[in-house]
């Protein structure tokens, strides 16, 4: 009898997101993907590759010692080799993204190497797209209000080494608070009310985030939690959670948490396009009607060379705050971002 089972179709339409750490994967990316379901990316496709861009550069050099020939470098293959997986090939991937921090202070920092990477990885649908964040990925939280007309001038001194110091600088921004809401709810449920079943806890968090109005808020919360908490806990929990939700402020406008965060990300994207345009061109007049064109004309390698230039002086140098990884949304489809209202509340 014939047996054609060996001829299994290859799995295509795969996604590869290479990120440095857990924050990128479990906070930023998870949230972005929920806010923009149009991207249809599965969280499992995001690979935390615990290395920085300079170590990653070395990994590539090891595999491709003869140089960076056009279209030759196959990132899924490198990753699969290094992770000891079945070999993967870029021809099966529709999206390849690399999200890394600038890391000026790294002992292996090299203007030349980072530039090679930025210029090479320039097509998300083919070789891959590198999004560098200045000084680090958390910079998307660095808007102090919406709109924030000061953002385009915002820099940090090069002496302020990113890591804990930069993180503590932004930990109380309104964006950081909004981003942390799911974590906060989870903490309340698991620590304050000892809800130890992970799955049940996550499911409650998701349901609470779907609430989109203030009417009977406490009753809505009670309904979500009635199966998992005892009567006494329920009474306190609904007050505390109602307060936590109300404090972010989106319930008054009748949207869910993800609806609210999507709007917030649209602002973040808009501010960063404006900022990137400013870094690239030196112009900082804002114009709503220009933002799409600015985005089209952005050259991430020019921005990198400006950043390299302004941060060279170890005493007086600075780094422009800029997050480019949020550009993955307008890179996919600009229409997902409603940019007309960037500078409106």
């Amino acid at each position: 009898m014939n047996n054609y089972n060996w001829l299994t179709p290859r799995r295509r339409r795969r996604q590869l997101f290479i990120v440095e750490g857990d924050h990128e994967k479990y906070e930023l990316m998870q949230l972005l993907l929920k806010c923009y379901p149009e991207l249809e990316v599965n969280l499992d496709d995001i690979i935390v590759y615990k290395t920085n861009i300079y170590m990653f550069y070395k990994d590539i050099e090891k595999k491709y010692s003869d140089g960076w020939d056009e279209d030759q470098i196959d990132l899924p293959w490198i990753i699969s080799k290094n992770m000891d997986w079945e070999p993967l090939y870029k021809k099966d991937f529709t999206n390849i993204l690399l999200i890394f921090d600038y890391e000026r202070h790294d002992p292996n920092f090299s203007e030349e190497k980072i530039m090679i990477m930025q210029q090479y990885f320039n097509d998300v649908t083919n070789v891959g797209q590198l999004y560098l964040n200045y000084p680090m990925v958390e910079s998307y939280q660095h808007l102090l209000q919406i709109p924030d007309r000061e953002y385009i001038h915002r820099t940090i001194p090069v002496g302020l080494q990113p890591g804990q110091k930069y993180k503590s600088l932004i930990k109380d921004t309104m964006i950081a608070k909004s981003v942390n809401l799911p974590i906060k709810i989870k903490e309340i449920l698991s620590q304050r009310f000892q809800l130890s079943d992970h799955e049940a806890c996550n499911s409650c968090v998701e349901q609470l985030l779907q609430i989109n109005d203030t009417k009977d808020l406490k009753e809505q919360i009670e309904e979500v939690l009635s199966d998992v908490l005892g009567i006494n806990d329920l009474k306190t929990a609904k007050h505390q959670l109602a307060d936590t939700l109300m404090r972010i402020g989106y319930l008054d406008s009748g949207v869910t948490y993800y609806g609210y965060m999507r709007k917030l990300f649209n602002h973040i994207i808009g501010h960063n396009i404006w900022k990137a345009h400013r870094i690239q061109s030196g112009e900082f007049e804002f114009s709503d009607s220009m933002i799409k064109e600015w985005f089209r004309n952005l050259k991430l390698d020019i921005i990198l060379s400006v950043q390299n230039h302004v941060s060279r002086d170890t005493e007086n140098g600075f780094i422009w705050i800029l997050n480019t990884c949020v550009f993955l949304i307008p890179d996919y489809n600009f229409d997902l971002v409603e940019v007309e209202k960037i500078l409106e509340k």
Binding site: R12, R13, R14, E38, E40, K90, K91, D92, F93, T94, D123, T125, N126, Y332, N333, F334, D335
Partner: protein
């Protein structure tokens, strides 16, 4: 020009399938794929057995309705969809001539039997005739400036031939109308007739490519004109086949084509499959220089990828206004260097035709490598 073609219940296409030449995206590059706001250069991809050839055969169906030569009986089976109970296939052709939009709709029971037909000019129904029930509507023939026609003659011919339906149902009312009316030179019906007569269909892969020179006599004789010979030689050379040609008049008065070497090498007996395929294509163009629409099925089956690219450039350059539909498996042509996302289509196994720009939620840009995206499965849901 043809603006839209819709088809239903024909061969493998049970559900409606549409070729919409009017669905032009806002791309600012390769504008030579567009002509008069309609797509004029289109490439269709698709897995094997999705119906790329059937689609071409279906598109050509209208030429039988308009044929002036009483057309001979062809096969009757395998016309309707094999899974459907509906007894006819439906065809809708929408044309645009200047400011006018003309829609010709008909249903057929088989390749030779028309069930009913209808013509609309700018949304006004000009005529309708049902060959089975004899239901008809001829009130608006004046819109076509064809109201001088004596409809009774058509109707009586329908009645008298009732027993011999096999003959008469093959003749469309539209054909009868055009043949029997004194139409002014700028009549829209003549424009339609003219367009349809200039539709050309070429299947390269299935065409027998005989190596018998006699089969090419008329072509060879055409090359007796020195300029024609040079043009053909230049064409082959541009396409990457380096050669010199010579023509000799044989004693019996027939011309013979040769490759010019130290000795003359007979052309047709010695040309490669690729060269013969290219010659066949050239022959079709030369003879139908004025084609309104060309459907070239698997046009580059025998060609090196560079030659396939050159042919497309040749088409754009030589026939800017001709609506050319190419089918191919050559993904190298799926590129923004030559084409654009709104002119590249995928025919799916379900019988849907989708342009690349409609086959993904991603905004496709000039810099994208469409071929790589296709291979990676970006458009998988529409394959």
């Amino acid at each position: 020009m043809l603006k839209k073609f819709e088809l239903r219940n024909y061969k493998n296409f049970e559900e409606p399938i549409i070729i919409d030449f009017g669905k032009v995206g806002g791309y600012q590059f390769n504008e030579d794929c567009i002509s008069n706001q309609l797509i004029s250069k289109m490439i269709i991809y698709g897995r094997n057995a999705t119906g790329k050839t059937n689609l071409g055969v279906a598109l050509r169906d209208i030429t039988y309705n308009l044929s002036t030569v009483g057309f001979f009986r062809r096969q009757e089976g395998n016309y309707l969809n094999a899974d459907s109970k509906e007894p006819f296939a439906e065809f809708i052709y929408t044309f645009r001539f200047g400011q006018d939009e003309l829609i010709y709709k008909y249903r057929k029971i088989s390749e030779v039997k028309i069930h009913d037909e209808e013509l609309l000019l700018n949304d006004i129904r000009c005529f309708y005739y049902n060959f089975a029930s004899k239901a008809s509507s001829f009130e608006n023939l004046k819109v076509l400036e064809a109201d001088t026609i004596v409809i009774e003659r058509f109707l009586s011919s329908m009645d008298t031939n009732e027993d011999d339906e096999s003959v008469e149902q093959t003749l469309s009312f539209l054909r009868w109308l055009i043949s029997n009316t004194a139409l002014s030179a700028n009549s829209i019906l003549l424009k339609l007739d003219n367009y349809i007569n200039r539709m050309a269909f070429v299947t390269v892969s299935n065409t027998m490519m005989p190596k018998i020179p006699r089969m090419y006599d008329s072509f060879t004789n055409m090359l007796a004109d020195k300029e024609a010979l040079i043009d053909f030689e230049d064409f082959l050379n541009i396409m990457g086949i380096e050669c010199n040609l010579a023509l000799e008049l044989l004693p019996e008065g027939q011309n013979q084509l040769y490759f010019k070497h130290n000795k003359l090498v007979p052309f047709f007996e010695n040309a490669s499959s690729g060269t013969l395929a290219l010659t066949n294509l050239y022959r079709r163009f030369e003879m139908g220089k004025t084609a309104s629409l060309m459907y070239l099925d698997e046009f580059d089956a025998f060609y090196h990828y560079e030659m396939a690219e050159k042919i497309i450039q040749f088409f754009k350059h030589k026939y800017p206004n001709c609506q050319i539909i190419l089918t191919t498996h050559n993904t190298n042509l799926m590129t923004n260097r030559l084409m654009r996302p709104d002119c590249l289509f995928i025919l799916s196994q379900q019988g849907n035709l989708t342009s690349l720009c409609d086959a993904t939620a991603r905004e496709l840009r000039e810099g994208h490598n469409l071929e790589k995206m296709y291979i990676s499965g970006e458009f998988e849901r529409y394959e």
